[in-house]
């Protein structure tokens, strides 16, 4: 089962920090990141690409987004 990182309600730059922490912990695989603002979505996407991972899927989720990333 893919890891879920709940970054909803966290202010800048926490969503990116928690995502990078999880990426480093996992090494590879799939992670789902939950965010509640467009800013966090963009920042998480940018950080994911910078870490050599890619965004697999983004879908709206309870007024925010569910971002599936993987490597």
């Amino acid at each position: 089962m893919a890891t879920i990182v709940d970054a909803r309600g966290l202010s800048c730059p926490q969503p990116v920090i928690v995502t990078i922490n999880e990426i480093k912990k996992a090494g590879q695989g799939e992670i789902t990141v939950l965010v509640d603002t467009d800013t966090a979505k963009e920042n998480v996407t940018r950080a994911t690409n910078a870490q050599g991972w890619s965004v697999l899927e983004v879908e709206p989720d309870e007024g925010g987004y569910k971002i599936k990333i993987g490597k």
Partner: protein, 361 residues
Amino acid sequence: MKQFLSTRWGIIAVGVFIGIFASLLQLWGNPANMGICVACFERDIAGALGLHRAAVVQYMRPEIIGFVLGSFAAAYLFKEFRPRLGSAPIVRFVLGVFAMIGALIFLGCPWRALLRLAGGDWNAILGLLGLAVGIWIGTLFLRNGYNLGRTHKTHTSAGWIMPLIMLGFLVIMLFSPQISGENQSKLLFYSVEGPGSLHAPLIVSLVVGLGIGFLAQKSRFCTMGAIRDLILFKQTHLFGGLVALAVAAFLTNLVVGQFNPGFVGQPVAHNMHFWNFAGVGLAGLAYTLAGGCPGRQLFLSGEGDGDASVFVIGMIVGAAVAHNFGLASSPAGVTTGGIYAVIIGLVVCLLIGFTMKDKTA
């Protein structure tokens, strides 16, 4: 345009826009090297409301009103309005107070530090160094788990409060205009001399403010974030905007003849290097702990972030404190009270950074 603004070239374009119009606002009447200064302008608003009585810095700055309302409009247009609050508001208030006190030791927010540099005021170099060091200290806390906790969703009307306050300020200003040569109109104070008396026409300031607020909401322009992301993630996205602002303002200044290089005799500035450095250092730490530079906090307020609004109110109150208790610097330099305030502010910010960790976040 929606997509473009969140790209690298988008944020650079927004920085260029801010730089050019900040420089032009000076040409059109705003104080020298202060086309836009979020800290100074919030201080002027505190003065206009009579929260402090420093007669030279009282004016209801329409740029600030425009920032919030422009961001509000963009947030609705792009469907990004998210009413939210509840992430340690009292802490954000205190950070706002000390952010302002630090900024008024130097005499400017990060935007003005860049505009001062672009106008040839080399004292800004000390301020920008202080900003970088303050942000660097903040990133150490971020690396170690500093976190003010989560916001939660709130009522749509709760997210409207800050935009409505700003709209109220505008209405008051329209119905209580300056009486020529008088320090006080029906409801507001107006400077008759000093920086507060220097301003572009209301409509010009408002339109530029609205434009910047609109663009900055979507592009996430943030001077603190620019340096923080560079240090924390080696990421240059926001930094492009910061550099673009300074370069665009510099070139515009050259064209319109507003570039006067030197350390001495610079407008609304002093050259006590250490305190310029330390004041902005304190402010930079406070911005980092609060998650945004003063401008960014206004744009967040416009998109429904109640905690950012509390930070803004903290800055306005901080300006009142700074002037009522003689903590703010003047072109003559820092005050003894100001020095104590910087030290107290640093202690408070360090305590916040050390004690507010959330391992489970």
